[in-house]
Amino acid sequence: MNILKLTLCEAAEGLRKKAFSSVELTREVLDAIEKKDGELNAYLSVDAEGALRQAAAADAARQSGRDHALLGVPVGIKDLINVEGQPCTCASKILQGFTSTYDATVSARLREAGAVFAGRTNMDEFAMGSSTEGSAFKVTRNPHDLTRVPGGSSGGSAAAVAGGEAIAALGTDTGGSIRQPSAFCGCVGLKPSYGRVSRYGVTAYASSLDQVGPMTKTVEDAAVLLQALAGRDAHDGTTLDVPVPDYRAALRGGLKGLRIGLPKEYYVEGSDPEVMACVRKAVDACAAAGAEIVEVGLPHTEYAIAVYYIVATAEASANLARFDGVRYGHRTPRPDSVFDLYAKSRADGFGTEVKRRIILGTYVLSSGYYDAYYGRAQKVRTLIRQDFAEAFKQCDVMFTPVAPTPAYRIGEASNDPLKMYLGDIFTVPANLAGICGISVPCGKTAAGLPVGLQVLGPAFGECAILRAAYAYEQEVRA
């Protein structure tokens, strides 16, 4: 068994055919983590015993006739998704030692399907960052070049999948946190439309933008994992009661007749030429394979970063208020007063980037500034949403780069927050508009660094992006 290559669908097939048991498969994954993670730092914690127990239960269930695409398959979980009885640090000192008291809906759905929880993957603290350097505990390395970042914030999940330490993993995407690390590490990452997957039990960064999604080795794997996650949840009022289609069946539509939009604002100077060359090559190949290429406009793209960093930080400033040292998490030892307890617990517990965003978010909501910042940002957000709605009248999906650069060196951008924020330019608009997107590998730079192609689709258009990405992956790229 080669965990590096083994896809989720192959693993499921092997289990179904009894080529190996879940316990054997899980042991392989745990061994790979044991061997490689000292270098990659993809995981924050691994409950080997618990995973093997789940694997044994999955094997027993299969013996008694149960079957599911995820039954017995180990899946890495980003460390902000609650799994009852497991740590959930969000890569923050403020939640060091915290144990989840309940399952997130996505965890419960994986549990129900019989999946095995392989371990908790590293991330930027509270998902705030694009390199995973913001973790309070360790710096995850890019499996393609250990001196480089894996991207973020779901960098641990991406590195684990790409580095042969996981078959598949869950990430979350608030402004690109699934798609960008997938691109940097050369795996597939899908950000579902807002309201497609439950956020219940997923520690909130920016509530109106966050979505959980699959990070996998293939597009088909992403379809299978999404199938288990998607659907209305009574615990999350922002999930929509839209029927969940058969995503695997949707893969096989091909490229013929597919209208691929190229938003001209995404194809301007400023991006890495090698990245743009890979994306262009993918577009041309798809055109050659029968897709129709249309140029479209997303005129408010230039405001997306500003809008994102106002909306996201405003919501974060409230979402992170609960980490106050009163009920759980880090509490300063000898506070002078209740407000001293808040101030010291939070000063000790949060890292620099988290503090920066809380302060920014507090500022933009403050009386006298609200209208100029938050109020205006909401208006521009509506314009960005309308841009996409208009553009999707002319095309079925859009092809764009995921990030303007390939993976950069560890330390290279971490001292320049603005530079790092600008790296999110191609991913944040999808979150602001609530639409879906998938990152699929589309070649490498001369230095061997993976490049990601982003396929964007309209809200609840997961079938369209899966079809396009699958056709590209299977028919064109190979």
């Binding site: 902000l80 998704i81 609650n82 959930c88 969000c90 939640l95 915290f98 989840s100 008291t101 309940y102 997130a104 956020r199 219940y200 039990g201 997923v202 520690t203 909130a204 920016a206 509530s207 109106s208 009574a234 615990h235 999350d236 009022g237 922002t238 405003a314 919501e315 400033s317 409230a318 208020a321 609960r322 980490f323 106050d324 009163v326 009920r327 759980y328 209740v338 407000f339 808040y342 507090t362 909501l365 403050s366 009386s367 609200y370 938050y374």
Partner: protein, 479 residues
């Protein structure tokens, strides 16, 4: 000294009568062990999300309809940010910009006639936890955290503490009528903050506004208002200046104390709650809820006068508490037409007395409207007499049961048979020759004494009217 005008506005918080909390499935049972009715949602655990309690929306809208408010077809929730240990998320989910109900009002009696007190709006929010202070530490009980709380904000239309009391009483009565809250003051179901200012007569602009918090009883509100009016008048008449501030009522000291001035006012940084979608209410849904509304007390009073022929005074007393009026109407409807006044008499005298003696509410005693109706009917049909009925009532009140069965089992039916009674009449006259003589000498009152004697001889079961007739006949005939 020039005259001063007093301006008062109230922000009244009402705990809604839902089974579960506003955003989670936790129970709202009062008096449970601390921190037992809690879950990840109301404890603000990482990842927990609120889910709207539709019942809380319905009860708020029903309150709004009862108070003549306009219902917002699309209402939204906001986060109100502040750090305090009683708020598990360190923000409160409330409604800042698009509350559920707008406008409306309450009519109150004043010495100079009825007065309309306008309502600005009604919004829905979650209650905070309860903090208990002990000698060396403080404890937070999250059982209350997340209780649905409706806030009714009045316009500054009140001009005295008495009017404020009338307003609160009227509000309480309407809310209890609507069945949206128990309005139990001991359990903190109804709390009010007040805004108050004074200004010289003739001045258009309102004076400096002071907000007072921490009154747990209506008496407390009254006392706080009286104290604060005196304090403000004292300041301005001496040429002093008032500052816009929030003050806290200290019931033990009987005074208000400054909590924070305008400069130190919180910046709550309200913004739309992204975890909750806007609440959309269709016209059909609002119409359906309007259908389900109970009558307002004033309308009920008028209807009861017309329907049962009872005096306005009776109708007013009965309609005062919805449960009493419900009981009366159920009993009156179970009787033959024309007995409404009799049922009302029974309720107003005997039952009210029993209620006040035992300190119970009508819903807590064993007496049913059907039993009262049967009792009144038995008297009306002269199956039993009034005194017997009065004797039976306390038992029915305490232990329940139906009067007719008791009458039969104990043989309490009144004796209306002349032949059976004539013997008693003769016996009574024979035993009291002086009374018979007095009667014949023109002292008609002497007959009453003789009737009483016959009643005694019949062990109270004789039909008093018939006895009166027989006594008169007997005395009129030659001895």
């Amino acid at each position: 000294m020039s005259k001063y005008l007093i301006t008062i506005g109230l922000e009244t918080h009402v705990q809604l009568k839902t089974n579960t909390k506003m955003f989670c499935g936790c129970s709202l049972k009062f008096g449970a062990e601390p921190n037992t009715n809690v879950c990840p949602v109301c404890l603000g655990y990482p990842g927990a999300l609120p889910v709207m309690n539709r019942e809380a929306i319905k009860l708020t809208v029903m309150s709004g309809l009862m108070l003549g408010c306009e219902i917002n077809p699309r209402s939204t929730f906001d986060r109100k940010n502040y750090f305090y240990p009683d708020m598990s998320k360190d923000y409160q989910i409330s409604q800042n910009t698009h509350p559920l109900c707008l406008g409306g009002g309450v009519t109150i009696p004043t010495p100079t006639g009825a007065k309309r007190v306008r309502i600005n709006h009604i919004h829905l929010e979650e209650d905070a936890a309860k903090i208990n202070h002990y000698a060396r530490f403080s404890g937070v009980d999250f059982n209350r955290c997340g209780t649905p709380l409706m806030e009714i904000v009045s316009e500054p239309d009140l001009s005295s503490p008495d009017e404020a009391m009338e307003y609160l009483q009227a509000l309480k009565q309407i809310l209890m009528y609507a069945g949206v809250s128990d309005c139990n003051l001991e359990e903190g179901n109804l709390r009010s903050d007040v805004n108050i200012s004074v200004r010289p007569e003739g001045q258009e602009k309102l004076g400096t506004k002071v907000e007072i918090k921490n009154m747990n009883t209506f008496k407390g509100i009254y006392a706080a208002l009286e104290y604060e009016i005196a304090r403000q008048l004292n300041t301005v008449t001496r040429g002093g200046t008032l500052v816009q501030e929030t003050r806290r009522w200290e019931p033990d000291l009987g005074e208000t104390q400054s909590m924070r001035s305008k400069e130190n006012a919180h910046d709550y940084r309200y913004f739309p709650e992204p975890d909750l979608v806007p609440v959309s209410l269709s016209d059909e849904m609002i119409a359906e809820w309007r259908e389900a509304l109970p009558e307002l007390p004033t309308a009920r009073r008028e209807r009861m006068v017309a329907e049962y022929g009872i005096p306005e005074y009776d109708a007013g007393v009965l309609a005062d508490a919805k449960a009493n009026a419900d009981f009366f109407e159920a009993a009156a409807r179970a009787c033959a037409p024309g007995l409404g006044k009799t049922v009302s008499n029974w309720f107003m005298t005997e039952i009210m007395r029993l209620l006040s003696e035992t300190g119970t509410a009508i819903g807590e005693c064993a007496l049913t409207p059907a039993a009262l109706a049967e009792l009144v009917t038995l008297v009306d049909k002269r199956v039993i007499n009034g005194p017997t009925a009065k004797e039976l009532l306390p038992e029915l009140f305490r232990e329940g049961g139906m009067p007719e069965a008791l009458v039969k089992a104990r043989g309490l039916g009144q004796v209306s048979d002349s032949a059976a009674l004539e013997g008693f009449v003769a016996q009574a006259i024979a035993a009291n020759p002086k009374s018979a003589e007095d009667f014949r000498a023109g002292k008609k009152a002497a007959a009453g004494f003789l009737v009483g004697q016959v009643m005694k001889l019949s062990h109270g079961k004789a039909d008093p009217k018939l006895v009166g007739k027989l006594v008169a006949e007997k005395l009129a005939s030659p001895a």
